[in-house]
Subunit: 240 residues, 2 copies
């Protein structure tokens, strides 16, 4: 099998720094974790918060701490620092090769989707962001790694897209329409969701938007791990 | 403009963990850094070393420490821990948007290539791995970000490929032949170099091999940042 991960990320219109931070790290016992945080508000302050949360989480994951415990630790650290005045969402998607599962950790009111063939499930139990109080608990979902599995995770910029114009985004409907195409690669899924949101906001996103897609495919190629990043830059000192 | 980063990575034959660790992080003042370390020997011990080095470096980069200082700090930490008995190479490639430059930090005997159009320069001044002594210094090269620029970085598995069979890899020649194609994307360059090395080792790589390519292109698309990872997995608990 092969696990393919794709992310697409855009800043709020006319804001040079995204409040969303997304990073991928190798896990100490094999596999990788993708960590996505969305700091409250936008711009530089939000960036500092989401970077602090992601930094805390990946530092602990690197020490072998389990995903749920890293989310609790990041929440406690944020609450201690900001006394509940600043919050951040967090999603962790971990490919755990020792258990053969994908472990999904969520502290984010925005739901996640899990797709297998024609079946599209939405995970939308109530979930509280980090830093809101002591005793914030993450929701943990564990799924066996198997070909055809697709997981879609996003920040609330996707949920709120189009609301300003009264034409709110329907994430599930967009996802379903793309999945009807023959076996779309994860980058196509992420780009389609982000593109629809940006279009509903008249190409001026009302918030930072990040979309993350994981897909398990039957093995088709070689043994090579690959990673690619594309980073548009406007002159100098604009993107983050 | 757009900066595209691509990496391709393969384990030593029949070894389940790569001693090479490669990670990408966002810099606190914008831009990203790619950090590549190759721990001495192979397998689990080497992995622990290279992960420790990368963890140290990205932790400091996240705090705003300059690249050269992070390399010195990681070297001192490794030397203190292992008393010079275990060493690790380190390469950092940073896209520094505040200065409009790519900053290349090297503690690795393996050279780097910098290409602009037809011109291919090799950077091969002597460079010492981390952890060899106190006072290890990195070599720092700073290049203006401009369209057409290509940087190629790799671990010594690429250099040593084919030596067992008496047909050693000529990295520069392979690079030149790929660059003669019309404007190859960075993933094609990374894959071609890695593919040539693996082929010279009879598809049984004698060492972990990692190839990292950065390319600056004129802006062609949208404002979206993208990231993609492909991770082959054999059943369970095999890849790292």
């Amino acid at each position: 099998m092969e696990v393919q991960i794709a992310a697409a990320k855009v800043n709020k219109y006319a804001v040079s720094e995204s409040g969303d931070t997304l990073e991928v790290i190798e896990r100490p016992n094999g596999g990788v974790s993708v960590v996505l945080a969305d700091g409250q508000s936008s711009g530089r302050g939000a960036k500092a918060i989401s970077q602090m949360v992601v930094r805390k989480v990946i530092g602990l994951l690197a020490e072998g701490v389990r995903d749920g415990a890293t989310a609790r630790a990041a929440s406690d650290a944020l609450f201690t620092d900001k006394q509940g005045k600043v919050i951040s969402t967090l999603n962790i998607a971990s490919l755990d090769l020792s258990s053969g599962t994908i472990v999904l950790t969520r502290n984010n009111p925005a739901p996640m989707f899990i797709c297998r063939g024609e079946q599209i499930d939405i995970l939308k139990e109530e979930s509280i962001p980090l830093g809101t109080s002591r005793n914030v608990r993450p929701l943990i979902t564990e799924i066996t790694i198997e070909p055809g599995l697709i997981v879609v995770i996003y920040t609330d910029g996707l949920v709120h897209a189009g609301k300003r114009r009264g034409t709110p985004m329907d994430v599930g409907a967009t996802l379903r329409s793309v999945l009807e195409e023959q076996d779309p690669p994860p980058q196509m899924l992420a780009d389609a969701l982000l593109g629809q949101a940006v279009s509903l906001d008249d190409n001026r996103p009302a918030d930072d938007i990040s979309v993350l897609v994981l897909k398990v495919t039957p093995r088709v190629g070689d043994n090579v791990r690959r990673m690619a990043v594309r980073l548009p830059i406007d002159g100098v000192a604009r993107v983050s």
